[in-house]
Amino acid sequence: MKDPIKKKLKLKVSAISEGTVIDHIPSENLFKVISILKLDKTKNMITFGANLDSEKMGAKAIIKISNKFFEDDDINKIALIAPNAKLNIIRDYEVVEKKVVKVPDEVIGIVKCFNPKCITNNEPVTTSFRVISKLPLALKCLYCEKITHENQIVIKKSSE
Protein backbone atom coordinates (compact mmCIF):
# COMPACT_ATOMS: atom_id res chain seq x y z
CA MET A 1 0.00 0.00 0.00
CA LYS A 2 2.03 2.92 -1.25
CA ASP A 3 -0.90 5.25 -1.66
CA PRO A 4 -1.36 7.02 1.69
CA ILE A 5 -5.05 7.76 1.03
CA LYS A 6 -5.81 4.10 0.41
CA LYS A 7 -3.86 3.15 3.49
CA LYS A 8 -5.91 5.57 5.53
CA LEU A 9 -9.11 4.09 4.10
CA LYS A 10 -8.02 0.60 5.06
CA LEU A 11 -7.56 1.69 8.61
CA LYS A 12 -11.16 2.83 8.88
CA VAL A 13 -12.03 -0.80 9.47
CA SER A 14 -9.64 -2.46 11.86
CA ALA A 15 -7.32 -5.17 10.59
CA ILE A 16 -7.82 -8.86 11.40
CA SER A 17 -5.18 -11.47 12.09
CA GLU A 18 -6.91 -14.54 10.55
CA GLY A 19 -10.00 -14.63 8.36
CA THR A 20 -11.61 -13.18 5.26
CA VAL A 21 -12.03 -9.65 4.01
CA ILE A 22 -14.78 -9.09 1.44
CA ASP A 23 -14.13 -5.86 -0.38
CA HIS A 24 -15.87 -3.90 -3.15
CA ILE A 25 -19.42 -4.69 -2.07
CA PRO A 26 -21.96 -2.12 -3.32
CA SER A 27 -22.87 -0.19 -0.17
CA GLU A 28 -26.61 -0.58 -0.71
CA ASN A 29 -26.25 -4.36 -0.73
CA LEU A 30 -24.13 -4.72 2.39
CA PHE A 31 -26.90 -6.09 4.58
CA LYS A 32 -28.11 -8.43 1.85
CA VAL A 33 -24.60 -9.87 1.62
CA ILE A 34 -24.56 -10.30 5.40
CA SER A 35 -27.91 -12.07 5.19
CA ILE A 36 -26.98 -14.35 2.27
CA LEU A 37 -23.76 -15.43 3.96
CA LYS A 38 -25.69 -15.85 7.22
CA LEU A 39 -23.20 -13.60 9.00
CA ASP A 40 -26.04 -12.35 11.17
CA LYS A 41 -26.15 -15.84 12.70
CA THR A 42 -22.44 -16.42 13.24
CA LYS A 43 -20.49 -16.03 16.48
CA ASN A 44 -17.30 -14.95 14.68
CA MET A 45 -16.06 -11.43 15.23
CA ILE A 46 -17.22 -9.24 12.34
CA THR A 47 -16.47 -5.65 11.50
CA PHE A 48 -17.91 -3.85 8.54
CA GLY A 49 -17.93 -0.45 6.97
CA ALA A 50 -20.31 1.10 4.50
CA ASN A 51 -20.27 4.21 2.32
CA LEU A 52 -16.49 4.12 2.11
CA ASP A 53 -15.00 6.07 -0.76
CA SER A 54 -14.04 3.96 -3.72
CA GLU A 55 -12.43 5.17 -6.91
CA LYS A 56 -14.14 2.43 -8.90
CA MET A 57 -17.56 2.28 -7.28
CA GLY A 58 -18.20 5.64 -5.65
CA ALA A 59 -19.36 4.16 -2.36
CA LYS A 60 -18.41 0.69 -1.31
CA ALA A 61 -18.79 -1.55 1.69
CA ILE A 62 -16.32 -3.94 3.25
CA ILE A 63 -16.74 -6.83 5.67
CA LYS A 64 -14.03 -8.46 7.76
CA ILE A 65 -14.79 -11.81 9.36
CA SER A 66 -12.30 -13.26 11.81
CA ASN A 67 -11.40 -16.94 11.66
CA LYS A 68 -13.81 -17.62 8.81
CA PHE A 69 -12.91 -19.05 5.39
CA PHE A 70 -15.65 -19.57 2.81
CA GLU A 71 -16.22 -22.40 0.38
CA ASP A 72 -16.43 -21.15 -3.24
CA ASP A 73 -20.03 -22.38 -3.57
CA ASP A 74 -21.05 -20.29 -0.59
CA ILE A 75 -19.25 -17.14 -1.56
CA ASN A 76 -20.47 -17.29 -5.17
CA LYS A 77 -24.02 -16.80 -3.88
CA ILE A 78 -23.22 -13.09 -3.43
CA ALA A 79 -22.18 -12.72 -7.08
CA LEU A 80 -25.75 -11.74 -7.97
CA ILE A 81 -25.68 -8.61 -5.79
CA ALA A 82 -21.96 -7.95 -5.47
CA PRO A 83 -20.52 -9.01 -8.84
CA ASN A 84 -17.25 -7.12 -8.32
CA ALA A 85 -16.62 -8.33 -4.78
CA LYS A 86 -13.06 -9.40 -4.01
CA LEU A 87 -11.98 -11.68 -1.22
CA ASN A 88 -8.73 -11.40 0.64
CA ILE A 89 -7.79 -14.43 2.69
CA ILE A 90 -5.79 -13.27 5.72
CA ARG A 91 -3.28 -15.34 7.66
CA ASP A 92 -1.25 -13.62 10.39
CA TYR A 93 -2.26 -10.14 9.14
CA GLU A 94 -1.00 -10.91 5.63
CA VAL A 95 -3.07 -11.39 2.50
CA VAL A 96 -2.18 -14.93 1.43
CA GLU A 97 -4.79 -15.36 -1.31
CA LYS A 98 -7.13 -13.19 -3.40
CA LYS A 99 -10.36 -14.44 -4.92
CA VAL A 100 -13.09 -12.98 -7.11
CA VAL A 101 -16.70 -14.14 -7.03
CA LYS A 102 -18.22 -16.05 -9.94
CA VAL A 103 -21.87 -16.28 -10.92
CA PRO A 104 -22.89 -19.90 -10.19
CA ASP A 105 -24.68 -22.17 -12.71
CA GLU A 106 -27.62 -22.61 -10.36
CA VAL A 107 -29.17 -20.17 -7.93
CA ILE A 108 -31.08 -21.78 -5.08
CA GLY A 109 -33.10 -19.43 -2.87
CA ILE A 110 -31.77 -15.83 -2.66
CA VAL A 111 -33.66 -14.48 -5.71
CA LYS A 112 -37.41 -14.09 -6.20
CA CYS A 113 -38.99 -15.25 -9.45
CA PHE A 114 -40.32 -12.16 -11.26
CA ASN A 115 -43.49 -13.99 -12.36
CA PRO A 116 -46.28 -13.17 -9.87
CA LYS A 117 -48.19 -16.28 -10.99
CA CYS A 118 -45.26 -18.57 -10.22
CA ILE A 119 -45.92 -21.08 -7.44
CA THR A 120 -42.79 -19.84 -5.62
CA ASN A 121 -44.44 -16.46 -5.07
CA ASN A 122 -47.61 -18.01 -3.70
CA GLU A 123 -46.46 -20.87 -1.49
CA PRO A 124 -43.42 -21.19 0.80
CA VAL A 125 -41.25 -22.81 -1.88
CA THR A 126 -37.47 -22.30 -2.11
CA THR A 127 -36.79 -20.74 -5.50
CA SER A 128 -34.47 -22.51 -7.91
CA PHE A 129 -33.02 -21.12 -11.13
CA ARG A 130 -30.70 -22.25 -13.86
CA VAL A 131 -28.37 -19.45 -14.97
CA ILE A 132 -28.86 -19.26 -18.75
CA SER A 133 -26.75 -16.14 -19.21
CA LYS A 134 -24.14 -14.61 -16.92
CA LEU A 135 -23.65 -11.30 -18.71
CA PRO A 136 -26.24 -9.88 -18.67
CA LEU A 137 -27.63 -12.12 -15.98
CA ALA A 138 -30.68 -14.24 -16.90
CA LEU A 139 -32.20 -16.86 -14.62
CA LYS A 140 -34.67 -19.52 -15.73
CA CYS A 141 -37.09 -20.61 -13.02
CA LEU A 142 -37.14 -24.36 -12.44
CA TYR A 143 -40.87 -24.15 -11.62
CA CYS A 144 -42.67 -21.75 -13.97
CA GLU A 145 -39.88 -21.83 -16.62
CA LYS A 146 -40.05 -18.04 -17.03
CA ILE A 147 -36.83 -16.05 -17.33
CA THR A 148 -35.94 -13.40 -14.75
CA HIS A 149 -33.60 -10.86 -16.32
CA GLU A 150 -30.91 -8.86 -14.55
CA ASN A 151 -33.00 -5.70 -14.23
CA GLN A 152 -35.87 -7.72 -12.68
CA ILE A 153 -33.83 -9.43 -10.00
CA VAL A 154 -35.17 -8.96 -6.50
CA ILE A 155 -33.34 -10.53 -3.57
CA LYS A 156 -35.56 -12.39 -1.13
CA LYS A 157 -35.71 -11.08 2.40
CA SER A 158 -34.33 -13.61 4.84
CA SER A 159 -37.82 -14.07 6.33
CA GLU A 160 -39.31 -15.01 2.93
Partner: protein, 294 residues
Protein backbone atom coordinates in the same frame (compact mmCIF):
# COMPACT_ATOMS: atom_id res chain seq x y z
CA UNK B 1 -42.49 -32.23 -19.61
CA UNK B 2 -39.10 -33.06 -21.02
CA UNK B 3 -39.80 -36.14 -23.09
CA UNK B 4 -37.22 -37.50 -25.49
CA UNK B 5 -38.12 -38.51 -29.02
CA UNK B 6 -38.18 -42.18 -27.97
CA UNK B 7 -40.54 -41.44 -25.09
CA UNK B 8 -42.91 -39.57 -27.39
CA UNK B 9 -42.94 -42.54 -29.72
CA UNK B 10 -43.50 -44.93 -26.81
CA UNK B 11 -46.55 -42.93 -25.65
CA UNK B 12 -47.87 -42.82 -29.23
CA UNK B 13 -47.48 -46.58 -29.49
CA UNK B 14 -49.34 -47.08 -26.20
CA UNK B 15 -52.10 -44.69 -27.27
CA UNK B 16 -52.62 -46.71 -30.46
CA UNK B 17 -52.81 -49.84 -28.31
CA UNK B 18 -55.49 -48.25 -26.09
CA UNK B 19 -57.40 -47.01 -29.11
CA UNK B 20 -57.58 -50.59 -30.40
CA UNK B 21 -58.54 -51.86 -26.96
CA UNK B 22 -59.71 -49.00 -24.69
CA UNK B 23 -60.99 -51.05 -21.76
CA UNK B 24 -58.06 -52.61 -19.92
CA UNK B 25 -58.23 -53.15 -16.18
CA UNK B 26 -54.70 -51.94 -15.45
CA UNK B 27 -55.88 -49.69 -12.61
CA UNK B 28 -57.92 -52.40 -10.91
CA UNK B 29 -57.87 -51.75 -7.15
CA UNK B 30 -56.15 -48.39 -7.60
CA UNK B 31 -57.39 -44.95 -6.56
CA UNK B 32 -56.62 -41.88 -8.66
CA UNK B 33 -57.03 -38.37 -7.24
CA UNK B 34 -58.36 -35.87 -9.78
CA UNK B 35 -57.56 -32.46 -8.30
CA UNK B 36 -58.91 -29.59 -10.40
CA UNK B 37 -58.12 -26.35 -8.60
CA UNK B 38 -59.69 -24.53 -11.52
CA UNK B 39 -62.48 -25.85 -13.73
CA UNK B 40 -61.60 -27.48 -17.03
CA UNK B 41 -64.47 -29.64 -18.11
CA UNK B 42 -62.93 -31.11 -21.23
CA UNK B 43 -59.60 -32.09 -19.68
CA UNK B 44 -61.22 -33.44 -16.51
CA UNK B 45 -63.81 -35.56 -18.32
CA UNK B 46 -61.15 -36.88 -20.67
CA UNK B 47 -58.91 -37.91 -17.75
CA UNK B 48 -61.76 -39.37 -15.75
CA UNK B 49 -62.96 -41.34 -18.77
CA UNK B 50 -59.43 -42.69 -19.21
CA UNK B 51 -59.27 -43.69 -15.52
CA UNK B 52 -62.68 -45.37 -15.72
CA UNK B 53 -61.72 -47.28 -18.86
CA UNK B 54 -58.63 -48.52 -17.03
CA UNK B 55 -60.80 -49.75 -14.15
CA UNK B 56 -59.53 -47.25 -11.55
CA UNK B 57 -61.54 -45.40 -8.91
CA UNK B 58 -61.57 -41.61 -8.69
CA UNK B 59 -61.53 -39.22 -5.76
CA UNK B 60 -61.17 -35.45 -6.01
CA UNK B 61 -62.83 -32.17 -6.84
CA UNK B 62 -63.65 -30.23 -9.99
CA UNK B 63 -62.95 -26.71 -8.73
CA UNK B 64 -61.27 -25.20 -5.71
CA UNK B 65 -64.59 -23.98 -4.23
CA UNK B 66 -65.40 -27.53 -3.24
CA UNK B 67 -61.99 -28.22 -1.69
CA UNK B 68 -60.23 -27.15 1.49
CA UNK B 69 -58.46 -24.39 -0.48
CA UNK B 70 -61.42 -22.21 0.51
CA UNK B 71 -60.38 -22.76 4.15
CA UNK B 72 -56.91 -21.49 3.32
CA UNK B 73 -55.07 -24.80 3.00
CA UNK B 74 -51.81 -24.59 1.05
CA UNK B 75 -51.15 -26.68 -2.03
CA UNK B 76 -48.35 -28.29 -0.06
CA UNK B 77 -50.72 -29.61 2.60
CA UNK B 78 -53.40 -30.71 0.12
CA UNK B 79 -50.84 -32.73 -1.85
CA UNK B 80 -49.25 -34.25 1.26
CA UNK B 81 -52.69 -35.38 2.43
CA UNK B 82 -53.99 -36.66 -0.91
CA UNK B 83 -50.79 -38.53 -1.71
CA UNK B 84 -51.50 -40.62 1.40
CA UNK B 85 -54.84 -41.66 -0.07
CA UNK B 86 -54.27 -42.14 -3.78
CA UNK B 87 -51.91 -44.11 -6.05
CA UNK B 88 -51.70 -41.30 -8.60
CA UNK B 89 -52.58 -37.60 -8.71
CA UNK B 90 -53.91 -35.78 -11.77
CA UNK B 91 -53.73 -32.05 -11.10
CA UNK B 92 -54.90 -28.85 -12.77
CA UNK B 93 -53.84 -25.66 -11.00
CA UNK B 94 -53.85 -21.97 -11.99
CA UNK B 95 -50.33 -21.23 -10.71
CA UNK B 96 -47.32 -21.79 -12.97
CA UNK B 97 -44.87 -24.40 -11.75
CA UNK B 98 -47.42 -25.87 -9.34
CA UNK B 99 -47.22 -29.30 -10.98
CA UNK B 100 -43.46 -29.59 -10.55
CA UNK B 101 -43.77 -28.46 -6.94
CA UNK B 102 -46.56 -30.97 -6.28
CA UNK B 103 -44.45 -33.75 -7.79
CA UNK B 104 -41.59 -32.84 -5.42
CA UNK B 105 -43.70 -33.15 -2.28
CA UNK B 106 -46.01 -35.97 -3.32
CA UNK B 107 -45.20 -39.54 -2.46
CA UNK B 108 -47.06 -40.72 -5.57
CA UNK B 109 -46.66 -39.65 -9.22
CA UNK B 110 -48.32 -36.40 -10.32
CA UNK B 111 -49.61 -35.87 -13.87
CA UNK B 112 -49.82 -32.22 -14.91
CA UNK B 113 -53.25 -31.48 -16.39
CA UNK B 114 -52.28 -27.84 -16.90
CA UNK B 115 -50.41 -25.40 -14.63
CA UNK B 116 -51.56 -21.89 -15.47
CA UNK B 117 -49.99 -20.46 -18.60
CA UNK B 118 -46.97 -22.74 -18.23
CA UNK B 119 -47.54 -26.28 -19.53
CA UNK B 120 -50.35 -28.55 -20.62
CA UNK B 121 -48.33 -31.61 -21.60
CA UNK B 122 -51.17 -34.07 -22.06
CA UNK B 123 -52.72 -31.71 -24.64
CA UNK B 124 -49.42 -31.73 -26.51
CA UNK B 125 -49.25 -35.51 -26.46
CA UNK B 126 -52.78 -35.86 -27.79
CA UNK B 127 -51.93 -33.32 -30.50
CA UNK B 128 -48.85 -35.40 -31.37
CA UNK B 129 -50.94 -38.55 -31.44
CA UNK B 130 -53.48 -36.87 -33.73
CA UNK B 131 -50.64 -35.83 -36.06
CA UNK B 132 -48.95 -39.23 -36.23
CA UNK B 133 -52.33 -40.93 -36.69
CA UNK B 134 -53.33 -38.75 -39.62
CA UNK B 135 -49.89 -38.28 -41.21
CA UNK B 136 -48.34 -41.68 -40.34
CA UNK B 137 -45.15 -39.86 -39.36
CA UNK B 138 -43.79 -37.01 -37.23
CA UNK B 139 -40.98 -36.24 -39.69
CA UNK B 140 -40.90 -33.81 -42.65
CA UNK B 141 -44.17 -32.10 -41.74
CA UNK B 142 -45.25 -28.61 -42.75
CA UNK B 143 -47.18 -27.29 -39.76
CA UNK B 144 -49.25 -24.10 -39.87
CA UNK B 145 -50.12 -22.45 -36.58
CA UNK B 146 -52.86 -19.84 -36.71
CA UNK B 147 -54.32 -17.23 -34.33
CA UNK B 148 -52.95 -16.42 -30.90
CA UNK B 149 -49.37 -17.61 -31.09
CA UNK B 150 -48.19 -15.32 -28.30
CA UNK B 151 -50.15 -16.59 -25.32
CA UNK B 152 -51.28 -19.97 -26.68
CA UNK B 153 -49.33 -22.48 -24.61
CA UNK B 154 -50.59 -25.37 -26.78
CA UNK B 155 -48.78 -24.04 -29.85
CA UNK B 156 -45.58 -23.43 -27.86
CA UNK B 157 -45.51 -26.93 -26.42
CA UNK B 158 -46.37 -28.47 -29.79
CA UNK B 159 -43.60 -26.49 -31.48
CA UNK B 160 -41.06 -27.77 -28.95
CA UNK B 161 -42.29 -31.35 -29.30
CA UNK B 162 -42.38 -31.45 -33.11
CA UNK B 163 -38.90 -29.86 -33.19
CA UNK B 164 -37.53 -33.11 -31.74
CA UNK B 165 -38.36 -34.81 -35.04
CA UNK B 166 -36.71 -34.59 -38.45
CA UNK B 167 -37.00 -31.64 -40.78
CA UNK B 168 -40.21 -29.86 -39.80
CA UNK B 169 -41.28 -26.57 -41.39
CA UNK B 170 -43.40 -24.10 -39.45
CA UNK B 171 -45.67 -21.39 -40.83
CA UNK B 172 -47.03 -18.90 -38.32
CA UNK B 173 -50.15 -16.90 -39.18
CA UNK B 174 -50.92 -14.32 -36.51
CA UNK B 175 -51.63 -10.62 -36.00
CA UNK B 176 -48.72 -8.39 -35.07
CA UNK B 177 -49.77 -8.26 -31.41
CA UNK B 178 -50.04 -12.04 -31.05
CA UNK B 179 -47.07 -13.31 -33.02
CA UNK B 180 -44.86 -16.18 -31.94
CA UNK B 181 -42.57 -14.99 -29.10
CA UNK B 182 -38.95 -14.31 -29.99
CA UNK B 183 -37.61 -17.02 -27.65
CA UNK B 184 -39.26 -19.74 -29.76
CA UNK B 185 -38.00 -18.24 -33.00
CA UNK B 186 -34.48 -18.13 -31.56
CA UNK B 187 -34.86 -21.77 -30.58
CA UNK B 188 -35.88 -22.71 -34.13
CA UNK B 189 -33.02 -20.73 -35.66
CA UNK B 190 -30.54 -22.42 -33.34
CA UNK B 191 -31.87 -25.81 -34.39
CA UNK B 192 -31.78 -24.70 -38.04
CA UNK B 193 -35.50 -25.35 -38.42
CA UNK B 194 -37.22 -23.35 -41.15
CA UNK B 195 -40.15 -21.10 -40.25
CA UNK B 196 -42.12 -18.41 -42.03
CA UNK B 197 -44.34 -15.69 -40.62
CA UNK B 198 -47.50 -14.33 -42.20
CA UNK B 199 -50.06 -11.77 -41.16
CA UNK B 200 -52.99 -13.42 -42.92
CA UNK B 201 -54.23 -16.54 -44.68
CA UNK B 202 -53.33 -16.94 -48.34
CA UNK B 203 -52.70 -19.63 -50.94
CA UNK B 204 -49.68 -20.80 -48.97
CA UNK B 205 -52.06 -22.95 -46.94
CA UNK B 206 -51.97 -25.38 -49.90
CA UNK B 207 -48.53 -26.52 -48.64
CA UNK B 208 -49.81 -27.48 -45.20
CA UNK B 209 -49.88 -30.97 -43.72
CA UNK B 210 -51.38 -29.72 -40.45
CA UNK B 211 -53.28 -26.48 -39.78
CA UNK B 212 -53.39 -25.89 -36.04
CA UNK B 213 -56.06 -23.28 -35.24
CA UNK B 214 -56.35 -21.35 -31.97
CA UNK B 215 -58.73 -18.75 -30.61
CA UNK B 216 -57.94 -15.05 -30.92
CA UNK B 217 -59.25 -13.70 -27.63
CA UNK B 218 -60.41 -10.13 -27.30
CA UNK B 219 -58.90 -9.71 -23.82
CA UNK B 220 -55.39 -10.31 -25.20
CA UNK B 221 -55.43 -6.96 -27.03
CA UNK B 222 -54.29 -3.80 -25.30
CA UNK B 223 -56.07 -1.76 -27.98
CA UNK B 224 -59.69 -2.81 -28.76
CA UNK B 225 -59.42 -1.23 -32.22
CA UNK B 226 -56.62 -3.65 -33.05
CA UNK B 227 -58.91 -6.54 -32.10
CA UNK B 228 -61.72 -5.24 -34.31
CA UNK B 229 -59.27 -5.02 -37.21
CA UNK B 230 -58.11 -8.62 -36.96
CA UNK B 231 -61.01 -10.51 -35.43
CA UNK B 232 -62.31 -11.77 -38.77
CA UNK B 233 -58.94 -12.24 -40.46
CA UNK B 234 -58.18 -15.61 -38.85
CA UNK B 235 -61.37 -17.45 -39.69
CA UNK B 236 -61.06 -20.68 -41.63
CA UNK B 237 -63.90 -21.44 -44.05
CA UNK B 238 -64.59 -24.47 -46.20
CA UNK B 239 -63.94 -22.65 -49.46
CA UNK B 240 -60.35 -21.97 -48.34
CA UNK B 241 -59.65 -25.70 -48.25
CA UNK B 242 -60.21 -26.32 -51.96
CA UNK B 243 -56.54 -26.50 -52.99
CA UNK B 244 -55.13 -28.06 -49.84
CA UNK B 245 -53.27 -31.37 -49.79
CA UNK B 246 -55.36 -34.56 -49.46
CA UNK B 247 -53.52 -35.56 -46.26
CA UNK B 248 -53.99 -32.11 -44.65
CA UNK B 249 -55.89 -32.09 -41.36
CA UNK B 250 -57.21 -29.22 -39.23
CA UNK B 251 -56.56 -29.38 -35.50
CA UNK B 252 -57.89 -27.16 -32.72
CA UNK B 253 -57.49 -27.64 -28.95
CA UNK B 254 -61.16 -26.55 -28.50
CA UNK B 255 -63.32 -24.84 -27.43
CA UNK B 256 -63.63 -22.84 -30.64
CA UNK B 257 -65.61 -19.68 -30.98
CA UNK B 258 -65.77 -18.39 -34.55
CA UNK B 259 -62.29 -19.12 -35.90
CA UNK B 260 -63.41 -22.26 -37.71
CA UNK B 261 -66.64 -21.73 -39.65
CA UNK B 262 -69.20 -24.51 -39.02
CA UNK B 263 -69.20 -25.26 -42.77
CA UNK B 264 -65.72 -26.78 -42.28
CA UNK B 265 -67.08 -29.42 -39.89
CA UNK B 266 -68.37 -31.62 -42.73
CA UNK B 267 -65.06 -31.56 -44.58
CA UNK B 268 -63.03 -34.74 -44.09
CA UNK B 269 -60.04 -32.53 -43.30
CA UNK B 270 -61.73 -31.28 -40.13
CA UNK B 271 -60.13 -33.36 -37.42
CA UNK B 272 -60.75 -31.43 -34.16
CA UNK B 273 -63.50 -33.63 -32.77
CA UNK B 274 -61.49 -36.80 -33.47
CA UNK B 275 -58.57 -35.02 -31.84
CA UNK B 276 -60.60 -34.61 -28.64
CA UNK B 277 -61.49 -38.33 -28.79
CA UNK B 278 -57.78 -39.16 -29.09
CA UNK B 279 -57.33 -37.36 -25.76
CA UNK B 280 -58.81 -40.31 -23.87
CA UNK B 281 -56.47 -42.88 -25.47
CA UNK B 282 -53.47 -40.63 -25.02
CA UNK B 283 -54.30 -40.10 -21.34
CA UNK B 284 -54.72 -43.84 -20.83
CA UNK B 285 -51.24 -44.18 -22.35
CA UNK B 286 -49.78 -41.46 -20.11
CA UNK B 287 -51.26 -43.05 -16.98
CA UNK B 288 -50.00 -46.50 -17.92
CA UNK B 289 -46.55 -45.09 -18.76
CA UNK B 290 -46.35 -43.03 -15.54
CA UNK B 291 -47.24 -45.99 -13.33
CA UNK B 292 -45.11 -48.45 -15.36
CA UNK B 293 -48.14 -50.59 -16.02
CA UNK B 294 -47.26 -51.30 -19.63
Amino acid sequence: MDYSKDEYLRIMELAADFEANPNQTLLDGKVVASLFFEPSTRTRLSFETAINRLGGRIIGFSDSNSSSVTKGETLHDTIRMVSNYADLIVMRHPLEGSARYAAEISGVPVINAGDGANQHPTQTLLDMYSIIKTQKTLDNLNIFMVGDLKYGRTVHSLLMAVSQFNNPIFNFIAPEELQMPEEYKIYLREKKIRYFEHREFSDIISAADIVYMTRVQKERFSDPIEYEKVKNVYILTNSMLANTKPNMRILHPLPRVNEIHPDVDQNEKAYYFDQARNGVFTREAIIAHTLNLK
